[in-house]
Amino acid sequence: MIYLDNAATTMMKPSCVVDAVTAALTTLGNASRGAHEGALNTNRLLYKTREKLAGFFGCPKSEQVIFTNNSTEALNIALTGTLRPGDHAVTTVLEHNSVLRPLYRLQRERVVDLSFVPADRRGCVDYADFERLVRPNTRAVVCTHASNLTGNLLDIRRIGEIAARRGLLFIVDASQTAGAVPIDMVDMGVSMLCFTGHKSMMGPQGTGGLLINGDIEVEPFKVGGTGVQSFLTEQPREYPTRLEAGTLNGHGIAGLSAAVDFIRQTGIDAIRAHETALARRFYEAASAVPGVVTYGDFTTWERCPVVALNIGGADSALVCDALSCDYGIATRAGAHCAPLMHRALHTEAQGAVRFSFGYFNTDADVDAAVRAVREIADRIG
């Protein structure tokens, strides 16, 4: 299989991640549930990994690195834990349902009001809209760092400046960028960063986190066992315990920790350069194929290594299936959990075929994908 669905998950993981998870499966006890070496080993792993992640993302306090199962859980905690009845939030049409559905639920259940920054036909925003949409009761700006459909990057430093100037929380969904694009929460003015471990971080599925920059009161999304203060009837108030009820995914976090080491040793700039070169090679060849329409802003390569396209009027699902069955190429068709982005691109009915490139892909993978696109376009043509 030629795997070009890295925006969904990176299927190939560094060998050090595999080794770390394998070792963890027979060495880790349950953190904070005992003081024997098995439990303490897991506590040590969690502590060290929080420290690593805080350094990696520029989060000032490692105790405010909260482990979650994925970005979706982190976003649910961040949004549900900070938006109150009557609040207003500014978000964008680029968002994944991991942002949209928690916001829609808050709109229904807490009368949280929402405004959406629109996008043009290339999926680009006008940054002035973020400021224009702020109201007296706005509490937060919530946005993705990059569209999972087009790969367009948002300038979160610029949005962070607007949020800071207006005294707003700035909550960022870094699902598509964590591990692929450098992020510094303080420098970029990010209040809360939500990331997943299994995409560009190249860690295991079931890992991720919420990082909190500053004195922000986030109410727990879930409550339960913590291994500490057992006679309290409420969740302890101290971070990270406040937001981490239940046993953590220690085995996965061992892999995530190794993944951070891998990215640091390889160099995030080197990883990004390789992935961008692959996406560019694909875009330049595939977009020249008659009948191919691409989506996104390709006037810049300050973007994620994603190329979404359609071939003529063909159903994206059928093209995706042909790529898989006839060529052994894994891509993603359909709506990509990004309904408003598809609406802005006018691809709601057709969907789009998303090719997304990862560190372990090669030029040969790209060239095979281009040949496949060309042949399918000829057949459809």
Binding site: S32, L40, G227, S230, F231, P236
Partner: protein, 78 residues
């Protein structure tokens, strides 16, 4: 059962602080280890740092230099 002995015990506000202090002590060769939080200090679960007795001022200085505020610190027989 082990024989009871006098130890300097530090309780922490968070497990994160406990782990940070262990890491700090290990990096400086300071004696001690993490133990289950003695019930005399708190009936909740959790971890405590157990250090050799006699130098509570030295332990307090170590905590300060680590940037960690203890919840409790006392010499006791455990």
């Amino acid at each position: 059962m082990r024989t009871r002995e006098r130890r300097l015990i530090v309780a922490f506000y968070t497990t994160h602080d406990a782990m940070a202090f262990e890491d700090y002590c290990l990096s400086r060769g300071a004696a001690g280890r993490l133990i289950p939080l003695p019930r005399e200090i708190s009936a909740g679960c959790g971890l405590a740092w157990s250090a050799p007795p006699g130098d509570i001022a030295g332990l307090a200085a170590l905590l300060r230099s680590a940037g960690i505020a203890p919840q409790h610190m006392k010499e006791m027989e455990i």
